[in-house]
């Protein structure tokens, strides 16, 4: 029997905005149901409605039955016995989800004491046990720490501990790993699996990450515009999607094991819940749309066995065996002329030589004094040739952004050299520096924050032109808007009238205004939805090829990096761990950190995910104010743990530098015991056996 039965759930916000329009699903004991959808698809609102946590002015109708008991319309007195006891919820951002003024231990103990008669000491002891269960080291000490003293991954573990405190029957996880780095994500997902085994609970897993769902879920529900559009077993959804939206979504994800070539974007944007199109809400973006689609919204109907599809052409898709790549138009990206010249013969656009950036660590409010040094970037070297994309990857806190800032400043570095377009930043005067700024432009991560909301788009794009003394910019603005796939008449509008993807295009247009040679991309697609992301990645690739640009690309999403970059540098604690061409680094990673990083990335492929062996890293990134001696990665290194005592000495005493690996042209790793392993393709082999 199912634990949770949701039938025809609708949520209406004031103004008649229907955020959720008829969601039905069931969750059984020990089962994981994945709910996938882009932002605004109503997936989070659905779960909040089930918990009864929506704002009071939201109207919820339909039925939610927990063990046969109706939850909708239940009195608060009854509802509080269910919340946290039978159903628990894990939220996305664990920093804001904990009350900042109470200790973690107190907050978990509070959850225990709400539902179980227990004295304070016992509850505190139980909190420590729970923290131990989710793998927090020294749980008795850490229980007395405040939320801000925990790292992101630790907080999410504590959140899980709190959620399972009363042995719930159902766990609702709302984007539980979205705010975390991949290696930490892998740890937390592992903890979630343990928690499920411990409690035997059913899990509703809400996420936009199709990789996470592939590894965790038994069944999947795909939501679009407040409604489920496809539902079925995880294998059916991933290998035999029958709704064009699902097909497009799967085709649009860049894959870490994927082939080269353009990604398949879904044109357009998700509809706003305030103004839904008539008929099928996906019709305006659907390449398979026929006239009938506009007439009536197709219901979610059973489609062979367990699955349900809401598409009038599902039978046809089934019959012809269509996939996303067949249905959605694949854009043609013109090849680059520059790359025909061998790399060694191309001019170098950017060269970093042993660059250092340290920050003083200050303490005290009234009288500041220096108590240490943050080794943000501690001697890194790389170069970018013309027409090339170098990606800088690594977890948060590894020094990626500091490196970017140092380059963009065009100021003399604290140590080492930064050479931009053949000019050493330590030797140029201010006029040259100003001229050089034309050639180096940046695209920021958050397109919402990077554009002045009170400036028309035309002025935003014209600003760099005017700053460098160009008159009559109108024609150039129109040209740029056209270049990034927007219309010239958009120049009159303000940023808030655009969607996230369009805003990022505006940001790109602004960066290209001065015809730069090098564009620095700081996580350009990480704030975008998957279907939008593909379009922006294609655009970046096309611009690079047609305009002969070079990119320095900073990202934490290794799948996007594989797709866009030619070379990749993996950073760890202010040092480069591994550098080389994308093929070499991804297919034959030699540094244990790269291997762990690659193995931690979830693949949007259920069978591969199930058979994959992960290299799990222990703990968090050490503080850059106090990096370990010798090799900085040794404290978390799985290889270090396997070395003999004599071999370990070298890791502790001697700091490895990036050494070129034998038999390769462009591949180096900073490890004394570097050894190439196939991390991604290895799982392919296993599958064949």
């Amino acid at each position: 029997m199912s634990i949770l039965e949701v039938k025809d759930l609708t949520v209406t916000f004031p103004g008649g905005i229907q955020a959720v329009r008829g969601v039905s699903y069931e969750v059984e004991r020990g089962e994981v149901l994945g709910i996938v959808g882009e932002s605004g698809s109503g997936k989070s609102v659905t779960s909040l409605a089930i918990m009864g946590l929506l704002h009071r002015n939201a109207v919820v109708s339909g039925s939610v039955k927990l063990h046969g008991r109706e939850l909708i319309g239940m009195k608060e007195d009854e509802l509080i016995k269910v919340r946290g006891k039978s159903i628990s919820m894990i939220f996305q951002d664990p920093l804001s989800a904990f009350t900042p003024v109470y200790t973690i231990g107190d907050q978990i103990a509070e959850a225990v004491r709400v539902h179980q008669k227990m004295n304070k000491d016992k509850a505190a002891k139980r909190a420590v046990e729970l923290l131990d269960l989710v793998g927090i080291p020294h749980p008795d000490v850490r229980a007395k720490a405040f939320p801000h003293e925990f790292s992101g991954g630790m907080r999410q573990r504590a959140m899980i501990a709190m959620a399972i405190a009363n042995d719930p029957d159902l766990l609702i996880c709302d984007e539980p790993t979205t705010a975390l780095d991949v290696t930490i994500q892998a740890q937390v997902l592992e903890v979630l699996k343990t928690a499920q085994q411990e409690t035997g609970a059913g899990i509703v897993m809400i996420t936009h990450d199709l990789g996470v769902i592939a590894g965790m879920a038994d069944r999947v529900l795909v939501m679009y515009a407040g409604r489920p559009v496809e539902q079925g077993s995880v294998d059916d959804i991933y290998y035999r999607p029958r709704m064009p939206y699902t097909m497009g979504l799967l085709a649009s994800i860049p894959r870490i094991d994927g082939e080269e070539g353009a990604l398949v974007p879904i044109e357009g944007n998700p509809p706003s819940p305030a103004s839904l199109p008539p008929g099928c809400p996906f019709a305006p973006r659907c390449p398979m749309k026929v006239d009938l689609c506009d007439e009536e919204e197709p219901p979610l109907v059973p489609f062979g066995g367990e699955r349900h599809v809401a598409c009038i052409r599902a039978q046809e898709i089934e019959h012809k065996g269509l996939t996303g790549a067949d249905v959605f138009p694949v854009p043609m990206i013109p090849p680059s002329d520059v790359v025909r010249v061998p790399r060694a013969e191309r001019p170098t656009v950017l060269e970093l030589n042993d660059m250092i950036r340290h920050y003083p660590l200050m303490k005290g409010a009234v009288f500041k004094r220096r108590v240490g040094t943050v080794h943000a970037v501690d001697g890194i070297s790389f170069d970018i040739a013309e027409g090339e994309t170098l990606a800088l990857v690594g977890e948060s806190g590894c020094g990626k952004t500091t490196t970017l800032q140092q380059i963009m400043q065009l100021a003399p570095p604290q140590g080492g050299r930064v050479v931009v377009l053949g000019k050493d930043s330590a030797e140029i005067d201010s006029a040259t520096r100003r001229a050089l700024r034309r050639d180096v432009q940046i695209v920021f991560q958050d397109p919402m924050a990077a554009l002045d909301p009170r400036m028309p788009v035309g002025d935003i794009i014209a600003e760099p032109l005017r700053a460098h003394g160009r008159k009559n910019v109108q024609a150039r603005v129109a040209e740029l808007l056209d270049l990034v796939g927007l219309a010239p008449e958009h120049a009159e509008r303000y940023p808030q009238q655009f969607s996230g993807g369009q805003r990022q295009r505006i940001g790109i247009a602004r960066a290209l205004a001065l015809e730069p040679k090098l564009v620095v991309l700081d996580e350009p697609v990480s704030a975008l939805d998957v279907s939008i992301q593909a379009g922006v990645i294609n655009l970046l690739e096309e611009l690079k090829n047609t305009l002969g640009l070079s990119y320095l690309f900073v990202a934490h999403d290794l799948a996007v990096v594989r797709h866009l970059a030619d070379r990749v540098a993996v950073m760890y604690l202010g040092k480069i761990a591994e550098i080389g061409t994308v093929e070499n680094v991804y297919d034959h990673p030699a540094h244990p950190y790269t291997q762990a990083l690659l193995s931690a990335i979830p693949l949007p492929d259920p069978e591969l995910e199930r058979s994959r062996k992960r290299i799990l890293l222990e703990g968090d990134l050490p503080s850059p104010a106090d990096p370990p001696s010798g090799c900085r990665f040794r404290t978390r290194c799985p290889k270090f743990a396997r070395l003999s005592e004599a071999e370990r000495r070298r890791c502790v005493d001697e700091e490895p530098s990036v050494a070129r690996l034998a038999n390769t042209v462009d591949h180096g790793a900073a490890c004394h015991y570097a050894e190439e392993i196939e991390v991604i393709t290895a799982s392919d082999d296993q599958e064949e056996k």
């Binding site: 909040l48 904990f98 003024v101 801000h148 009363n166 009234v366």
Partner: protein
């Protein structure tokens, strides 16, 4: 921590000395205590006036720096000098501080507590009738100057007492000196009612607006939702998690109001005939009383710096994120 406190104390001593010296210089150069002795009937001979003023260190014929030196050396030993008519400033100040404290402590604390509670209620019921009512009343009260408000209160009480035929609520003075023991204590409390209302109404209006904003910021945050997802009642989640966090910024305002309260109730003290610090400042300026003005300023400087210190302590106590290890 000890070292930090010591350093902070040293800075504060310098700041107090600076503030008091500037105030003394200003008072000594602009005020004319001689005027209060001149033009009397019968006229006082100039030699006698000079002699009296010299005795009180108020003679404008002595160079101002010399008077300042006399005053400052007195202050260092804890003697604030003489009032214009020869009374001891120290004795006057000692008495008045306690008058003000009695009147203002209750008013300030009550104003804060009720204001925070109303603000929190207002935020939780945003845009409902109770929120609008609290909002409109706060703005009306804030728009009425305290001397108008206090006078209105006094008139209303006077009419109420007359209508009843006996004195239900006292509206002037501190206590009835003819009563003693328990009766006098009750009488003192009765005398407190009106000034306390007039003092706290303003703070209630002020704090309720501040607290409403702080609370609204917090209400939308995830941790309130988490608290409810745990199974806490909405009311418990709102008080224990939301209000507790939203108190942190209000505490700063409170600390400053608490520190400055001794001299902050000039109008209320004057209207209800309480002889506290605020009333003294006005009286002293009217009486060309240089030493009293300097003493009140000295005291105010100490209060403000103490308030700054108190606000740091309060915020550190309430917010673990700012605690220094």
């Amino acid at each position: 921590m000890g070292k930090y406190l010591l350093r902070r104390l040293a800075i504060n001593v310098i700041l107090v000395a600076l503030a008091a010296s500037l105030a003394y210089m200003l008072a000594a150069t602009t005020m004319n205590p001689r005027a209060t002795y001149q033009g009397r009937q019968p006229p006082i001979p100039e030699a006698v006036i000079d002699q009296t003023l010299d005795a009180y260190n108020l003679n404008d014929k002595t160079p101002v720096l010399q008077r300042y030196a006399t005053w400052a050396s007195g202050v260092i030993t804890g003697d604030f000098g003489k009032t214009w008519n020869g009374g001891s400033v120290n004795a006057e100040m000692g008495r008045r501080i306690f008058v003000s404290l009695r009147l203002l402590l209750i008013g300030t604390v009550l104003g804060f507590a009720v204001g925070v509670a109303l603000g929190a209620v207002s935020a939780v019921r945003q845009y409902k009738l109770s929120d609008r009512l609290i909002g409109v009343s706060s703005f009306v009260i804030m728009a009425i100057p305290v001397f108008v408000l206090a006078t209105l209160l006094a008139i209303a009480t006077y009419n109420l007492n007359r209508g009843l035929g006996f004195t239900l609520i006292e509206y002037t003075g501190e206590y009835n000196p003819r009563l003693s023991g328990w009766d006098q204590f009750l009488n003192r409390l009765n005398h407190l009612i009106l000034p306390t209302i007039s003092l706290s109404l303003g703070s209630i209006a002020f704090y309720s607006r501040i607290q409403r904003n702080m609370m609204l910021d917090v209400l939308g945050q995830d941790f309130v939702r988490t608290a409810m997802a745990k199974g806490l009642r909405r009311r418990t989640a709102l008080t224990k998690h939301a209000l507790r966090t939203a108190l942190i910024p209000s505490a700063t305002y409170f600390a400053f109001a608490f520190g400055t309260m001794f001299t902050g109730a000039i109008f209320t003290e004057k209207i209800f005939a309480w002889h506290g610090m605020g009333a003294w400042l006005v009286d002293a300026i009217n009486a060309q009383d240089v030493n009293s003005v300097a003493a009140v300023t000295f005291f105010t400087a100490i209060c403000v710096l103490f308030a700054a210190f108190l606000s740091d302590l309060l915020v550190a106590a309430l917010d673990p994120r700012v605690r220094v290890s």
